[in-house]
Amino acid sequence: MPKNLPKITILFAGGASLQLENKEIVSVLESTDVEAWIDEFPELQLIADIDSVFVFPDGKEIATEDWNQLSKEIADRYNTSDGFVVLHPLDSMLYTGSALSFLLGNLAKPVVLTGSPLQPHMKSEKDVEGFMSHYRTLGVRANLINAIQVATMNVPEVTILFGNQLFRANRARKSLSTSFNFFDTDDADVLGTVDFGIKLKDPDKKKPKGNLKLTTLTNPYLALVRIHPDYKQEEFADVLKEKPDGILIHTYLQSGIKENLKPYIQIAHQQGIPVVVFNPFIADITRVKGVYVASDISYEALYAKFIWALSLGKSADEILKFLDRNIANEFAKERRGTQ
């Protein structure tokens, strides 16, 4: 056992609901709950010198403005901690994980998100009946130990640890299969596996040099448009009236944009509003001036990146250029090259 254990900070940002041996479910709802919760995990002291910070209560619905607070808590402790574990609700983990990968620029230390499949409204054995048999050993206890161990290793990026896999956070997606693993990703973005210990694919990954570069979001208004067969141009006109800072269009169309919307897109361009069209399945969408077409990135990562890019205080054209640039390995491997 090494004499000096690495210092790891656990940030409580929801997702800490834990089933005790007596089957009672305990959650972290305020800062005073943290100490008792940590006391349930004496084994963590064998892996790291643990510091803990209460950020949000379990059950909080995480929103964009919360990303600023979370990234600031990490930045404030960046020079005194060797790694960070964020306990976070599973449902919004892909958004927060993606956002942190853009907000924490030049990151040279591990930031590992994990969480409990249990919800704070679950109080007793009856509430979780059938639920934990579905997730079996994937409760927060095993996830936390695995995440803490990853946070002591050479993983200089934002990741998600759930079950037996370590994912690049901005490349992860909700698993569509009937398996118990909550998340999934392309093979290239599985950074490690948990079997008889944690095995990293690239244990010698090069760390970036220099200081952490924290971006603060300015809470821009990003209008979201979902195109469906009956979508009317008037609906888009209404979106423009709201004067958004950016428009993100999620389309099913191979051509990307409906013909009848093109004049309105032109208006958006004239008004300096950056427009992004997202279709995850088709890369060859008809290009329109003032529109960035995204297909080789997840929706959650694109959303977080768009909010981040809008906060940089740049012109619409510059924002679209930023969105096209690989910032935190958020694009599919074929697109980002060898990184």
Partner: protein
Amino acid sequence: MKLFLHFSDDADMDLINNSVSIFKEAGVLVVTNIDEVQAADFSEKELKRLKMTGENMLDKMDAYVIEASYPDPQIGYLLAYAMSQKKPALYLVKKGTKVGPQLKRLPDNIVIREYETENIKEELIGFIRNLEKGFGESVANIKFTLRITPQIERYLTWKAKRKKLSKADFLRERISEDIIAKDEEYKKYLNRK
């Protein structure tokens, strides 16, 4: 019984091979971090299933043996995992190795033992015996599927009800008291080890 043996990169190969042989001779299935695939008792199908379900292979082991004479960041993790999942673990260090203060308050399922090359067999076999005894209390934690005929099922249901036991408890009792306790050949086998 399935054991996971962990050795640091600096561990002596003879010690590793010797330990694996001792366990195998004792009829224990062994997986090591040195050569997992070769020693593992997992089929490709089982490995694929585990990957899909998100389970940790450590959960499939009955106990861990950790050789901890050399610094290795995996050791703390394995101990922590053993603690959290309440898995029996043997923490082995060469005689004279300093044990860190974090290990002063370990739960009963983790045993720290010093060894010398000559007495390693004694320590390993002792650990298996303790496992079989359930570290002082009989803990039936190994899952085993047994298919039975309707006739046996009828009998078990009737007998277990009369004895006021579950069918599984009744069977466990019969195996311990009537089969193992009376098997002289098995007793001789244990004494030879």
